[in-house]
Amino acid sequence: MKKYKISVRSISPYAYLIPSLLVFGLFLFYPFFKTIYLSLYKTNKMGQAKLFVGLGNYKDLLTSPSFYNSLFVTVEFVVIVVVGSMLLGLLGALLCNKAFPGIRVFSTAYALPMAIASSSAAMIFRIMLDPTIGIINKLLKLDINWIQDPKYALISVAVLTAWLNSGINFLYFSAGLSNIDETIYERAAVDGANSFQMFYKLTLPGLSPILFYTVVVNIIQAFQSFGQVKILTQGGPGESTNLIVYSIYRDAFFNYRFGSAAAQSVVLFAIIMVLTLIMFKLEKKGVSYS
């Protein structure tokens, strides 16, 4: 009897992990390795590995101007998105840092974009950016074909993504601001600092502990953008918005080049992994001061 009990005890910890591990195993680890495997093969239209080509798919990628373009526009896109969405989030957080009438309404407004789906947002922006009926051209008194013009398409998608991601950045920065010890402002006030000095000498440096973390999370999130590209530009015009995730999607499901798509997935994974490791490292180093 006792023996039975002990064995239940020693198994049960694993039992609680089974649901999670099963899902991870089937839908994360297995496909992860399968992707690496596929990236070494040429496939048929059903996605079955047919011909082992070793690093052939990667070699093809490295000689493909389309892939370099995809990487390049992705980086360009990520930079615009991260800078834009973080500035927007920071602006909101700073504006809602001190209590004032209506603060709850405003802070909800600043966080709200995080509740919107990329696909829904893309459909709204599509109308807003329309060259003839869109509100943007009307408000700015411009005549720009935002989505069809290769010069502006990437910026349009990036601005939309920055808007979508600004909501969570508002929350990050609000949390960062509320983590700053209130009494250091009091001490600075007694010491004679004005609000300008407090902002530059206390508030901005006080945000740096979460700044690195926020930057990395934002980069990762921006890399994974898909829905807005699919709906707004389909990677075009030309390949001006052919972000890497969209490129993967297109190669696999339009061109049926699953091997090449898998190789691109591995590249994407490598980029994200490096960024995540940086994030963990920064977090461990405890950029926080206290």
Partner: protein, 399 residues
Amino acid sequence: MSQIRLNHICKSYQGTDLAVKDFNLDIGEKEFIVFVGPSGCGKSTVLRMIAGLEEITSGELWMNGKLMNYEDPGKRNVSMVFQNYALYPHMSIYDNLAFSLAIRKVPKKEIKKRVTETARMLGLEQLLDRRPAQLSGGQKQRVAIGSAILREPNAFLMDEPLSNLDAKMRTQMRVEIAGLYNRLNTTFIYVTHDQTEAMTLGTRIVVLKEGVIQQVDTPQNLYDHPASRFVAGFIGSPSMNFVDADVLSDASGIAIESAGDGVEASNASNVLELKLNDNQTAILKRFHYEGQEVTLGIRPGDFILKKNAGGQKENVSQAFPVKVLSSELLGSDRLVYFMWEGVKCVADISADDEVARGDVIEICMKLDKIHLFNKNTEASIFAHGEKLAQKGVSDYEEV
């Protein structure tokens, strides 16, 4: 003219009850004022109103003859040390110390000179490159104090500066603050809930309770002549003992009904009668306390064992027996606990007198040292009475 004057200062938070009520105080130059009281008594609020961190609801705050109510904190020329030190976490200790000068655009050379000077004075030279997170509590407190004195302000405000330190560090920093006061010769306003800090540091102490000043006095006067039962109980450690008593009908003494609990009554009437001195009797008579119920207060140190009472020059009461509940030896002193009049009392006697739990001991009181408190107002009859007597008031109802 006094340096800082608080005139009918009141504070209320958004229409709720007053947190500070009609606070009046003149603070002279180079005084060390301590605000002391239990938590929530409004002592920090008053300090923060002086600093300008809280708005003054009504009343006036004058500094050097100028109305300061509406002045920004930075323009009041005071510096403040906070309970949690409030160091800037991202700056080095050097920059922390230099901050108040740097934002005033004091020349770098001058800043460096003053920072090094202050750091040397406080023993912080080795720490100047570090960040606050790398410092111990005591070191952080030194940095906070250092950055406060660096500015050479008109007054230092300290809000419970030692309460985050451990007991040993607290004692050490207390001595350092006292030394600093002697050296700097500036006004200090210091908030604490710890009566020991108040008694050892202050030149004058303000005792607060529920937003109202209870007494403002020197430490010695506060201890010897507490104005109310609250002050008497708050100041002094261990606390004063309080028992019910009746004033005799001729006011020549007071009677305490039963002898020490758990002890066979030694006198038939079961009443302990204490003879008061002429001065005390006169006050009781003047304010018509004859036959009234009062509260007797006596400090633990004002009990004395009967066997030691002979050599005393002081006026000592007759002895009464009590049964010892417990006895604590504290180095040179011994605290003896016993029940008396249904109240747990403590006597502070010499460690040489060996007393053990369960013993029945005979103790007396130093009669000149006893305090009597009005049962309703809780005011000290002797302290208050003398004051009123000077004004010619003679009705006890007004006491």
